[in-house]
Symmetry: C2
Subunit: 310 residues, 2 copies
């Protein structure tokens, strides 16, 4: 890509003050679409201009998943146009939520919050630490990769699980999914960040929970179906594991009266790890950095492959 | 210090399996005191041997504060003996606790833990993030310095406050204590880790709380007296700040029926950020690293200055 020190960037379909200031911070100029080098599009494929001016060389979309853009035939492989998605932009937010749940669990926070009296002697022996702990990260995609340096800063080691077993940066070990059942007796805690597929349904069931340690916490920021909820309730009730931090549940929404609501060591957050205001800020940061790369002629982040279709 | 590849280390007054294995991992040999190069002492000054064999060149103590060792006249400046304390060994544990309280506050965890129903729409707008936030660290000693890289891993900037204003590694800015009142309108959140002195009494009072933002959280892992509790209760009740995470309180222990117990956005942990089991593990890590340094002839961590008396 040619070096263009001050790219002209159009934002559509509606103006957006936060994204505009991100473009400017990234070294771009806000411009009408007619004279733009790049377009940031926060709308749907249906609302996208059918013909772009020939000056436009790059389109930045606002979501991480862009299946519908291929479905609508808007992203095509027969042009020079470069497309980028927001893939990865929201990973750090969900990773922050996962770390929060894990720290709160390990440090016995739920019972502290329920307390209405100074229970120091009772709580002291129950407080753990991530320092020196090993955390198994099941599904080391964007969220898992964002979580590893956060855990490292706490003095915790990560074992990453991914399909290939190809080393994930920062993890002390990376294992292929075929070895995942060895993880449950090896790691102290577990963060589930894998996609929901037929293979990952009830990935954490009775056998896996039985292999864990009495202090182990299980954090799920992926999809509820990856855990056998009944088996989890049993393991927590019988104090066979430390507890669970769940941003996703099965069933979801978790119905009133469900036993998970009453368990002190089950922390439920109602699928709110990535709320709108934070998404918007994260998108702005992502766009600002991509404008900076575009201005410098560098490779953009979250490039879409128009031929492969993702 | 001469290079000694396999130092003989005595542990006293009682054997300690965790510290023994740390010594061995650090490259040392467990030895009786009569033939030791170094002594790790977990007892009081009163129990310390009145005469050490001449082979002993280094004594490692087990606490961070060692005033009583000077008071008892055991550490003297007229010998070649090198003394080290455990200063800094426990900082990371307390910093972890501070980060946990801050993340739990910013992400609105207390209300989540009290919930018995799926309150997604209500919670979503209340959830914040440390990403892009600025955290003021009031008192950047061992705990503050340990906290800064943890915050950096979350994408948060730190402004450190110390007496001199000399730059603290990792902080985006360091200000002297004389400027601390500028901090409250500048930072998003505040972690108090300063010593309790006449000057720091009620450091956070009505005026400071009034300067903070409605989303600001105040974390106290130092001493309860640094915050004016009545002013804090008012600010939280009137939702003028986000909330407070308090490992220390004034009065302490916090009496039953105190208004702080009933405030959802006041998280109370009963001065349990550094419990015994974690202290012991942290001490073992500290000792292991010092044995490694001793074996390599390197400068030891937490050296005591026998002339200055600390």
């Amino acid at each position: 890509m040619a070096i263009d020190t001050t790219p002209r960037v159009a934002i559509g379909p509606a103006p957006d003050a936060l994204l505009e200031s991100a473009v400017v911070r990234g070294g771009g100029l806000i411009s009408p679409i007619e004279s733009a080098d790049a377009v940031v599009w926060t709308g749907s494929p249906e609302s996208f201009p059918t013909a772009l001016p020939s000056t436009v060389r790059w389109v930045q979309l606002s979501s991480a998943g862009i299946e519908e853009w291929f479905g609508a035939g808007v992203i095509r492989s027969d042009t020079e146009l470069v497309w980028t998605s927001a893939a990865g932009a929201f990973s750090a937010t969900v990773a922050e939520h996962a770390l929060m749940l894990l720290l709160a669990g390990v440090r016995h926070l739920p019972a502290h919050i329920e307390a209405r009296t100074w229970r120091r002697a009772e709580f002291m022996p129950k407080i753990g630490t991530l320092r020196g702990a090993t955390v198994g990260i099941i599904g080391a995609g964007g969220i898992g990769k964002a979580l590893i340096p956060m855990l490292a800063a706490q003095g915790a080691d990560s074992i990453a699980i991914n399909r290939s077993g190809n080393p994930v940066p920062g993890a002390v070990e990376t294992w292929p999914t075929t070895r995942v059942d060895e993880l449950y007796s090896r790691a102290d805690h577990f963060v589930i960040a894998a996609p929901a597929t037929a293979t990952t349904h009830h990935l954490i069931g009775r056998a896996q929970l039985a292999a864990m340690q009495p202090h182990s916490w299980v954090i799920n920021v992926a999809r509820g179906s990856l855990i056998d909820t009944d088996a989890l309730v049993e393991a927590i009730t019988e104090e066979r594991i430390g507890g669970a931090g769940l941003d996703v549940t099965d069933p979801e929404p978790l119905p009133d009266g469900h036993p998970l609501w009453e368990l002190t060591n089950a922390i439920i957050t109602p699928h709110d790890s990535n709320p709108g205001a934070i998404r918007h800020a994260a998108l702005a940061e992502h766009i600002g950095k991509n404008v900076e790369r575009f201005a410098r002629g560098e490779t953009l982040a979250a490039l879409v492959n128009p031929i492969a279709g993702y």
